[in-house]
């Protein structure tokens, strides 16, 4: 495909001793240079797929983008050789680099919704690189694009290109972006977490489409993800990275079946928390009865006749894909979105539907933790102030009494007392989420609503948070309403489960019963869509499906 001299013999991409640095500007300190990637080497043969895996900060995306000689923000490639099609692209100058971008190497971003220009039609964007590099005339490129839309099983392939990005769903956009990358017939595509932002039921479709497109076009790929189970489905080889250094590099089977490094084994077994379901004996302290809620003055129904119970000291997990009404249920329970019909009883009394009509004690008993820990805290307040606020507000604590309690709470979340004087910006993602947990606990609530609290975290960090939540439940007897789209998380933490689909609860009961066949069609789809750490899982799962996902 390319005009390279190295046909047949050498690797397509050969990166040697790659070193990438960035200048950072810490507040109140002199700017300094940090190393993001430490002398990493890799090579990739034509038509092969190499998976890059690791948690955030591992340097996966940075390495992936280096194959296009691109550094985000202040990131600079400072050392090593990047040999593509037999030449070092770093020596090619600006013109040479521009000529290979979009021609020899193409990029598929994590969020296609953000990566498409909202002002232009999809087709114009898909064929742009092909026309720019003179690979094809406009008519040829459009013909090829339509053929790719068909191959990626997009609906209405003849006309979807005439749409604007906002008129197409997230899963479809991700496939259009793959078509965009394939359109100029590159030798290499960098897939940067292409399914991470999608629902689990949509992810499987996109994954299958990408895998088939790679196989049929013979393009090579770097597949970047933090989810080992996903990478295992598409890659020939996997490279595990941590803190910008190589941990382990091997064939897919070896990495997931016989990991040689401790860190790799931790990644492989990450989802396995043993959690024994508690008996559903006691009477519920919070009952949601036949709740119907809507946005836009009753126009857009988001909850239909939902009823669930929460037992003291137990966890109810609410699962479903985006738009299924999970978070709306939380908003209805907290009173942020007063339900139109139905009632919520709490400890024997009926809670007022509207937040403004609830007593301070009602507010105290229901606390929330959010997905985005960093935006749920005031960046100008210290950790101590953040945790101390509910103590002052609900209990009127002050002075040494409050400080003592803050220290206790910091101990509970396994962070030292010294953290009380730190600001949120100085904390890692996991630590931020722990502070939010401490803030919720400070109010001594009966129920904490956890809205996708682990979704934005790396798997190992998320695991730590889940373990902490379970320990705190054992100590404090607090109940959780745990909202998530991730079924592995549900298995680890839930005592009972409510599966939601388009605003309704389609399956509800103790964990053991909900996860026991026979399943209804939707629960089956949801369960079968969770990637398993097994080669060939993808094909098996696609074959065994009974219904299409809603996002497709």
């Amino acid at each position: 495909m390319a005009k390279a001299p190295s046909d047949g013999s050498g690797p397509l991409l050969d990166i040697r001793n790659l070193r990438i640095e960035a200048k950072i500007y810490p507040p109140g300190e002199a700017p300094r240079t940090i190393t993001l990637v430490h002398d990493v080497s890799l090579s990739l043969q034509k038509g092969k797929v190499l998976g890059l895996i690791g948690e955030s900060g591992a340097g996966k995306s940075t390495i992936g983008l280096s194959s296009m000689a691109y550094g985000r923000g202040g990131v600079k490639i400072t050392g090593g050789e990047i040999i593509l099609n037999g030449r070092d692209i770093r020596k090619g100058g600006t013109q040479g680099i521009r000529a290979l971008r979009g021609r020899e190497v193409c990029y598929v971003a994590q969020s296609a919704a953000a990566a498409f220009n909202p002002a232009h039609r999809l087709m114009d964007q898909v064929v742009e690189a092909s026309i720019l590099h003179g690979v094809a005339t406009r008519a040829e490129a459009e013909k090829r694009a339509v053929a790719l839309f068909k191959k990626l099983s997009l609906p209405d392939p003849e006309n979807i290109g005439q749409r604007f990005p906002h008129q197409v769903s997230g899963g479809q956009l991700q496939r259009v972006m793959t078509a965009m990358a394939l359109c100029s017939e590159p030798d290499l595509i960098v897939f940067d977490e292409p399914t991470t932002a999608l629902d689990v039921t949509t992810q499987i479709d996109v994954l299958a489409a990408i895998k088939e497109a790679i196989r049929d076009t013979g393009v090579a790929a770097l597949y970047i993800s933090h989810d080992l189970a996903v990478v295992a489905q598409v890659s020939d080889e996997i490279m595990v990275l941590r803190h910008g250094k190589l941990v382990e590099w091997g064939g897919t089977r070896q990495i997931i079946k016989e990991p040689r490094q401790e860190y790799t084994s931790a990644l492989v077994s990450v989802h396995e928390i043993e959690h024994v379901e508690k008996k559903p004996g006691a009477t519920p302290f919070l009952s949601v009865r036949n709740i119907t809620a809507a946005y836009g003055g009753g126009k857009i129904k988001v909850l239909e006749n939902v009823s669930v119970d929460i037992l003291p000291g137990q966890t109810l997990a609410v699962v479903g894909e985006s738009g299924s009404g999970k978070s709306t249920l939380a908003r209805a329970i907290t009173g942020l979105l007063p339900p139109e019909q139905g009632s919520i009883t709490f400890a024997g009394r009926t809670l007022s539907n509207r937040l403004a009509d609830r007593s301070r004690d009602d507010l105290r008993e229901l606390q929330m933790i959010y997905q985005m820990a960093d935006v749920a805290m005031n960046p100008r307040q210290t950790v101590g102030t953040i945790i101390g606020r509910p103590l002052e507000f609900y209990f009127g604590m002050g002075g040494t009494e409050r400080d003592k309690r803050i220290a206790e709470l910091l101990d509970k979340i396994e962070m030292g007392r010294a953290f009380a004087d730190r600001y949120p910006a100085e904390l890692s993602g996991g630590q931020k989420q722990r502070v939010c947990i401490a803030r919720a606990l400070a109010a001594k609530p009966r129920l904490i609503i956890c809205d996708e609290v682990t979704s934005a975290l790396d798997p190992l960090v998320a695991n730590g948070i889940l373990k902490l939540l379970l320990e705190l439940q054992a100590e404090e007897g607090v109940a959780y309403l745990f909202i998530t789209h991730d079924l592995a998380t549900v298995k680890s933490i839930a005592d009972s489960i409510a599966v939601m689909y388009r605003g309704e609860v389609v399956r509800y009961g103790p964990k053991s019963e909900v996860l026991k066949p026979p399943f209804d069609a939707y629960t089956d789809l949801l369960l079968s869509s969770v990637p398993e750490m097994e080669i060939g899982w993808l094909e098996k799962a696609i074959k065994g499906r009974r219904m299409e996902s809603a996002g497709n």
Binding site: Y70, R101, A109, A115, N117, E128, A129, F164, H166, Q167
Partner: protein, 319 residues
């Protein structure tokens, strides 16, 4: 498919008309509160009480204020702006020529300044933080910081007095040849351009820089597009709404805010007309000019709103 857009546009226009009506009430009320009696100022201090009473009767000044307001509004709607007290001339007729002169000057100032501001803004983004950007920003800031009368006199000093290229007094008359007319307005148009350029250029730069943070700019970079193509094709279309807004604000300024420049260059436009008649306490003229200025402002802002609506693909192509 275009229905939501048409509805939004109709809403904007209706709101604009309502606003204009409210402004007309304000203008009328404001001129009523001013001290002094119109009949007295027409006839002078030596008028007899009988003559004053007759004139008041004749002008309808004895009617309640709201009746006079509706009479005035009715006249405006049918194109009758009343009669100037000082000259006894028909206001609509007098304004006609002057409005044309003001629009002529504003038009040529806009033709130069708007494309220049946008191109300079694009250049500043392309070479951001480099010396080109800093030079453009610095010069633009300097030209805005100088008061317009100072810029005007500076131009007169160099171009009219020292080098004698352009006339220092911009006299125009009916039937003046086009080139002569262009020569006459060269200096005031230049002064106006310098005044409005920086604001538009800096807003263009800021609006585009804001968009340059987006993920789709990275996509364009990774397709191998050149930096200027990225700005022109991928950043500019998404920054168009704020740019149109600031352009319209400056257009409005070019039409209604040129009083100082018109006085300096003795240019027979609306601003000078207004200032003259404020001095003469000619209430009907002040009302009429005020209303026209308000209409221009509101009209241009409606156009900016509508352009922003049309520029938004989510509104133009609903799901």
């Amino acid at each position: 498919m275009a229905n939501p857009i048409l509805k939004l546009i109709a809403q904007r226009i209706a709101l604009g008309l309502l606003l204009l009506l409210a402004v007309s009430v304000l203008i009328f009320a404001g001129t009523q509160i001013l001290p002094g009696d119109v009949a007295q100022s027409i006839l002078g201090q030596s008028a007899t009480p009988q003559a004053l009473a007759n004139l008041r009767q004749e002008l309808g000044l004895n009617d309640p204020a709201y009746i006079r307001y509706f009479r005035w509004l009715g006249g405006v709607l049918t194109g009758d702006l009343g009669t100037a007290l000082s000259s006894r001339q028909d206001i609509a007729h007098a304004i006609g020529g002057r409005l044309w002169n003001t629009l002529f000057l504003a038009f040529w100032a806009a033709i130069v300044s708007i494309p220049l501001a946008i191109i300079l803004g694009l250049l500043a983004v392309r070479y951001r933080n480099g010396w080109i950007d800093k030079t453009i920003s610095g010069l633009a800031l300097a030209s805005t910081s100088l008061p317009e009368f100072f810029v005007g006199y500076l131009l007169v000093y160099f171009f009219a007095v020292k080098w004698q290229i352009f006339p220092g007094i911009s006299t125009v008359y009916d039937g003046m040849p086009f080139l002569e007319r262009m020569k006459a307005i060269a200096l005031p148009a230049t002064a106006l351009t310098l005044v409005v350029l920086a604001h538009m250029m800096r807003m263009t730069r800021a609006a585009i820089l804001n968009v340059m943070q987006s993920a789709y700019i990275e996509t364009a970079e990774l397709k191998g597009l050149s930096p200027f193509e990225i700005i022109r094709k991928h950043a500019f279309p998404n920054a168009i709404a704020p740019i149109i807004n600031v352009v319209m604000l400056n257009l409005a300024f070019l039409i209604v805010g040129v009083v100082v420049i018109e006085v300096i260059f003795v240019y027979p436009g609306m601003g000078q007309y207004l200032v003259d008649h404020v001095a003469k306490r000619d209430v009907p003229v002040v009302q009429a000019v005020g209303l026209i200025f308000a209409a221009v402002y509101i009209g241009l802002n409606i156009i900016a709103d509508i352009a922003a609506i049309i520029a938004n693909p989510r509104l133009r192509h609903p799901k």
